[in-house]
């Protein structure tokens, strides 16, 4: 009984929900209340589950601070910043229903989060430049084709390409509208077929990787 609850019943839920989505698609041209309700529940469960990663991260930093692990001061800083932002945000929400109505939260959001968020993601621009110089070599035909296509697309994306040679925009457009299409469309079709195959495996209970501890049992 315990095994059925832990495995078979779980697969049955997955299978049932998947089938309900298909039934709605093929038999109900307008929405179907059962599928609509389940989707709404999925949205809410997804929302609640987003805190899971945060719980783990906080646990880790609390432990680091308590046990005075290496660089524990940064963990303490993390916790202080987190608590300040969380409390001010909740205070804003409880006051007016909108978190940014709290002045401190809004100031941190605009003046700390915005530049840090932009900067952290932009750092990859540096790495792509050094990677292109160090690793992008025409070692064989495959790499040479990739290199040529990449260079033409790079130059056609920038208006300077047309100044260098009037043929660059035309060749770049060819790569965009024709050249890259077979490869990209292959990813699209194969990805779609893979999703369908994977979905059927999940429907039949053969895929257990995404159930907590499911891969072990």
């Amino acid at each position: 009984m315990s095994n059925i609850l832990k495995r078979e019943a779980v697969f049955a839920v997955t299978g049932l929900v998947t089938v309900l989505m298909f039934v709605e698609y093929f038999f109900f041209p307008q929405d179907w209340i059962v599928a609509s309700t389940i989707r709404n529940w999925a949205v809410i469960i997804y929302n609640i589950s987003l805190g899971l990663g945060g719980v783990r991260l906080i646990q880790q930093h609390v432990m680091g601070t308590q046990r005075r692990k290496e660089n524990w001061q940064f963990s303490a800083l993390f916790l202080v910043a987190f608590v300040v932002m969380l409390l001010t945000g909740l205070a804003g929400y409880l006051g007016t229903g909108v978190a940014t109505s709290n002045g401190i939260y809004n100031w941190l959001f605009v003046n700390v989060y915005t530049p840090l968020g932009s900067t952290a993601y932009a750092i990859t621009g540096f790495y792509i430049f050094s990677a292109a110089y160090r690793a992008f070599r025409a070692r064989n035909l495959d790499a040479a084709l990739m290199l040529v296509a990449g260079c033409f697309v790079i130059l056609s994306n920038a208006p300077v390409g047309e100044v260098i040679w009037s043929g660059i925009p035309a060749i770049g457009e060819w790569f965009r509208f024709v050249g890259q299409v077979p490869g990209m469309r292959a990813f699209e079709v194969v990805g779609a077929l893979g999703m369908i195959a994977y979905g059927f495996r999940a429907l039949l209970g053969k895929e257990r990787g995404f159930y907590a501890g499911g891969a072990e049992e």
Partner: protein, 278 residues
């Protein structure tokens, strides 16, 4: 060591030199701008024509999805702003929403960048900001069938029943066009759950990285138009005849792109020379 030529030595340069060269190269064009003309490509033109003229009637409802955060403002915001302006000038009503935590900041930026257009519009009647949503593909599918369950109220916690625009927006059948601006997957959710399932007109104002994967869909007719990254934003600014952030950034893009192509060519010349020597 004495056999090393200039190319071999360049291979061993500290990578921090590259980073400094790049950072300075990006800054110089802002101080000494050149302003090369930007040629408009067909996919961007189709996008602009798809939201103007006979393709949009006054009162039509458009969804504009902020699928980008502050990190991608320079990529997506200019194109998004032009599209919002174009839709407002056609008299369309716009529902703004987004899947990023900082969607409110993006909305504030839009309202600042298009302030003259927003000045003529009434909140709740001509446009509404629904704010953040989560739930992935389930949320987008649910938005198509029952939008009020995904958003029982707008971002400012006003119930839908009190918002005139929301009285006319319950699902896919009320929406004329969807414009999604993405750094991730939300555009593909709209593609599957709105365009694929119900035939809703859909266009993407995406990051350049998604451009390659989006082109097959544009060519197959799933997207009626496509704006690729900041270059697409600059093209849209040309079409609406209002140069903005993307046009300003093009000089810097020119310099950096030229730099990376030169670096790749230099590296390959060195590589071929060393292979020949070996």
């Amino acid at each position: 060591m004495s056999d090393q030529n200039i190319f071999d030595k360049l291979q061993n340069i500290d990578r921090r030199v590259f980073y400094w060269v790049l950072f300075i190269t990006l800054m110089v064009p802002f101080i000494y701008p050149i302003g090369l003309p930007v040629k408009v490509v067909q996919n961007t033109r189709d996008l602009y024509e798809g939201i103007t003229g006979d393709n949009i009637n006054p009162g039509d409802i458009a969804i504009m999805n902020f699928g980008y955060g502050v990190s991608a403002w320079s990529e997506c915001a200019p194109g998004f702003t032009v599209c919002a302006k174009a839709l407002f000038r056609e008299g369309a009503r716009i529902v703004f929403m987004g899947s990023q935590y900082d969607v409110e900041l993006s909305m504030n930026k839009l309202m600042n960048d298009a302030r003259e257009d927003f000045a003529n519009k009434v909140y709740g009647v001509d446009y509404v900001f629904l704010g953040y949503f989560t739930g992935g593909e389930s949320a987008i599918a649910q938005l198509a069938t029952d939008a009020w369950t995904v958003y029982p109220s707008d971002h400012y916690v006003t119930p839908d029943a009190q918002i005139p625009l929301m009285q006319d927006f319950h699902g896919w059948q009320d929406v004329t066009v969807v414009l999604s601006s993405d750094t991730g997957d939300v555009g593909s959710y709209f593609l599957r759950q709105w365009q694929g399932s119900h035939g809703t007109r859909l266009a993407e104002i995406g990051i350049a990285m998604n451009g390659s994967t989006d082109y097959p869909y544009y060519l197959a007719g799933n997207y009626f138009g496509l704006s690729i990254g900041s270059r697409g934003g600059a093209e849209l600014e040309v079409l609406i005849r209002e140069p903005g952030e993307a046009t300003t950034a093009m000089d810097s893009i020119n310099a950096s792109h030229l730099l990376i192509v030169l670096a790749v060519i230099l590296a390959n010349v060195g590589y071929l020379l060393s292979r020949r020597k070996a």
